[in-house]
């Protein structure tokens, strides 16, 4: 059913349609509207047989989720940024125990300095947590992905993070197509755990495993991730057939036929980029966009296929690794191992700095003009802000425009 509503409400409705047994929440912007609404559904009785817990911290939120999921209830929670980091110990525990929890991460920068606006440093910091990480490019995508996420998690036996850009999506008021309860019930059966705590068949969950079996335990976790690649595609296919939606999948290609350049983008900037790509097309510039939906598991083969024989790829990254480089780019290079393809990172949109069509336009032009001479470049830099400090303190000044790694390195050597 079509509705003109806020993204957060859309997600809350999607979650409610999945009939979770337990939802726990600790407030942090920009995730608040989602859990506020789920809480409301529980209170009004729209969402039946569901326990909504207001806990005292994200650490507890994740822990409650672990308990309820281990207890055999379909479990949901949401967080962002610092909250996600406060959960981390539990996040690893949840994946280690194979608990199919679904959690929204309303992606937001990590402090300090404290910053409430959107980028991907929180979600990507959990790259190695053993969770599936699915990114959404629009609120419609978010609504559908949440519904699929429960099925994927429960099929694979691993928890899933649904990452949607904070504010940009969560607070955007848009037209959304919310599937009916009947459709969702048909798609998502009542949760039947592989194993859960119950008094008729006692088990001990969470044993201590020493060197004699730890490696094997890890291999089995990696195997679940391998299975997840297939499951994500199957579930997406089933969901699309059922609802006619275009959401989900491992990745999504736009204008990729014989494009001279391909941009790999995660999240809400994909939409902005698509519009800009269309404008560029009119200028005769042919650029493709690969919207990376599944960051974990990372679809190496699918991605290589999507890139095809394109010679130039830019990863638009909204987080990076201090002292290192990009986070997405190395993965793409792995995917393209041995193929003759130029892959680079362009960092933009950190801590809420808006990514405009013009930003995309600039990146494309610079790329095609071969202006990105290095693997790692900060694109949307305001040199004046930077210089206002470095000139005073060290007499160092940066030129306007993108700043690449060597410029940073050299500025130190002076």
């Amino acid at each position: 059913m079509l509705k003109q509503i806020e993204g957060s409400l859309g997600v809350a409705e999607a979650v409610a349609l999945c009939r979770p047994g337990v939802v726990c929440a600790y407030p942090i912007s920009p995730q608040t509207h989602i859990v506020e609404n789920v809480g409301k559904f529980v209170k009004t009785g729209t969402l039946k047989d569901c326990d909504f817990l207001n806990v005292e911290s994200e650490f507890s939120a994740m822990s409650v989720a672990i308990g309820s999921s281990a207890g055999g209830a379909r479990t949901y929670t949401a967080t962002a940024s610092q909250g996600l980091l406060f959960m981390v110990e539990g996040i690893y525990s949840a994946s280690g125990l194979g608990l199919p929890i679904v959690m929204t991460v309303a992606s937001r920068a990590i402090g300090g300095p404290i910053n409430i606006w959107n980028d991907h440093s929180d979600s990507l910091s959990q790259r190695d947590s053993g969770w599936l990480q699915l990114f959404c490019e629009s609120n419609q995508d978010a609504v559908d992905t949440h519904i699929m996420a429960f099925k994927i998690a429960e099929t694979v036996g691993l928890p899933v993070m649904v990452c949607m850009d904070g504010f940009v999506l969560t607070h955007a008021f848009e037209r959304l197509d919310i599937p009916s309860q009947e459709v969702v019930d048909k798609f998502l059966k009542e949760y039947e755990p592989n194993e859960y705590l119950n008094t008729s068949e006692p088990i001990s969950m969470g044993a201590m495993v020493g060197p004699e079996a730890f490696t094997e335990v890890r291999i089995l976790q990696q195997r679940k991730m391998a299975r997840a690649l297939k499951v994500i595609e199957d579930v997406t296919k089933e969901y699309r057939e059922l609802t006619g939606s275009k959401s989900g999948g491992l990745l999504d290609c736009y204008n990729c036929e014989n494009a001279d350049l391909k941009l790999i983008i995660l999240g809400s900037s994909v939409g902005t980029a698509k519009d800009e790509i269309d404008r560029l097309k009119k200028e005769g510039i042919n650029v493709g966009i690969i919207s990376l939906k599944s960051f974990r598991p990372f679809p190496y083969a699918k991605l290589a296929e999507a890139i095809g024989d394109t010679k130039q790829v830019i990863c638009l990254e909204r987080a990076f690794s201090f002292g290192g480089r990009g986070i997405i780019c190395p993965e793409v290079k792995r995917a393209m191992e041995g193929k003759n393809c130029d892959i680079k990172t362009v960092v933009a949109g950190l801590g809420g700095r808006a990514i405009y069509g013009t930003t995309i336009n600039g990146i494309v032009k610079n790329a095609l003009d071969g202006k990105f001479t290095e693997e790692f470049t900060f694109f949307d830099v305001d040199a004046s802000v930077l210089n206002s400090y470095t000139q005073k303190t060290e007499g160092v000044s940066f030129p306007n425009g993108p700043i690449c790694q060597s410029q940073i390195d050299n500025s130190v050597n002076m």
Partner: protein, 542 residues
Amino acid sequence: MKKKAFAVTLDPATSLSNHTGSWRTLRPVNVFKLPPCNNQCPAGENIQQWLYYAGEGDYEHAWRVLTEENPLPACMGRVCYHTCEGKCNRGFLDESVGINSVERFLGDYALEHNLGFKMPSRETGKKVLIIGSGPAGLSAAYQLRRFGHKVHIVEMGQEPGGMMRYGIPVYRLPRNILDAEIKRITDMGVEIECGRKVENIEAEKKSGNYDAVILCLGASISTNVDIPQGDTTSILNALNVLGEIETRGDIQIARRVAVYGGGNTAVDVARSLRRIGAEPIIVYRRNRDKMPANEEEMDAAIEEGIQVKWLSTIAEARKDSLKIEKMVLDENGKPKPTGEYEELPADAVVLAIGQNVDTSVISKISGLNMEKDSVVIDNETMMTSVDGIFAAGDCASTDRTVTRAIGMGKHAARSVNAYLNGRAYKKAEKHEIAKFEDMHPWYYTDAPKQIREELEAARRCGTFDEVQKGLTEENAVFEARRCLSCGNCMECDNCYGVCPDSAIIKLGAGKGYEFNYDYCKGCGVCAQECPCGHIKMVPEQI
């Protein structure tokens, strides 16, 4: 449940495959110790055992255990000086267990419910002659009968019982009780022939073709001392006085009577005389501490208004007074004369300074060794120097108490039984004694000793009614339950409960416990928390 996660999820109780017993360097074992009461009892009663059943209310079972060693519990519950209580470990906690009172309760219970002894399962056809039907004789007869031997007792008195009848006053041992317990023995088929004195024991043995003889003729003659006296003063001896009171219920005697001696007999005499209206005064050479008489008895006597002249000997007896010489105790506590004299008004003197064995008959037995006035016996076999002739009781002992006599009678009987089967008798080995230090008193609940009701002193003087009453069932059970079960298991479940490894198996009521050495790590908590000191940690043989 579908598929469980590998390694992270485990099945319940799988740890049982991990036998932690291999960690052990010490292993717990049960030790069975000899309770101090059992060890002390001259009759060798298994006190702890019968208290155990009494505490559970199984009085018959308790009585049966008791009478394994002692056929006269109702009597003993009254006249035994219960030195066992002096050794009771509970004494260190509050007050010793009232063993004697529970014994009397059981004895009386058995009489009320006409409990009888079982007849022997088979007759051996062997015949044993017992001279004397005092406690030793009756005990021996009873035990021999249980073995299935034929027993014939010859008693010179008119009625059976020996000193229990002619030495112990009625107010301590009502005769109906005595008669009933003797009858129970005769009901087993023991013959008692009264009013005959065996003059020639060897001849009697031959003529009656007895396979063995046990001498139980006691110490029936009062010791005499020679006191200078005017012929007018009357000097009597204790046994005659007691005997007369027993048979006639009264005795012609002056009002002011000096009882000379400090033993139990002296006290019995004094208290008896008090009851027939005399004013007895005990004259004794030493002081109260040195007095051999039982303390409780002495207290009772003083309560009844009997006076005592300590540190005094009778130098001379005049018509209506005695010349008393004061004594002092030397460093060894021996009385020494001082040469100081005083007058004590008295119309009569009763000598209660000891008893002797009547050697007139036994001295005729050829080759029978005697020492002073008692028969010499082998401590192990109780046999005299003459083959086939055994001895028990006062005639063969210097410790002349009823209980001791019963114990000796028992051993003599067992020895005779062995003798009749051509074996040499050996007394059973004694276990290590249970010491209070080995126990864990914290666990025992506080419980005051139950006191037996007594006839108030005022009323006692006019009557021979029994002074001490028995315990009610309630009190008796309570008292029995005060037993600490020293050194032996009382099934408190402590070991079973406190084992951090659940390595003790409970076998069920009355069956106790077993250590599960597969899992026992040897921590020793069970041993430390056992109230009774029944568990010991011993090094593993590695």
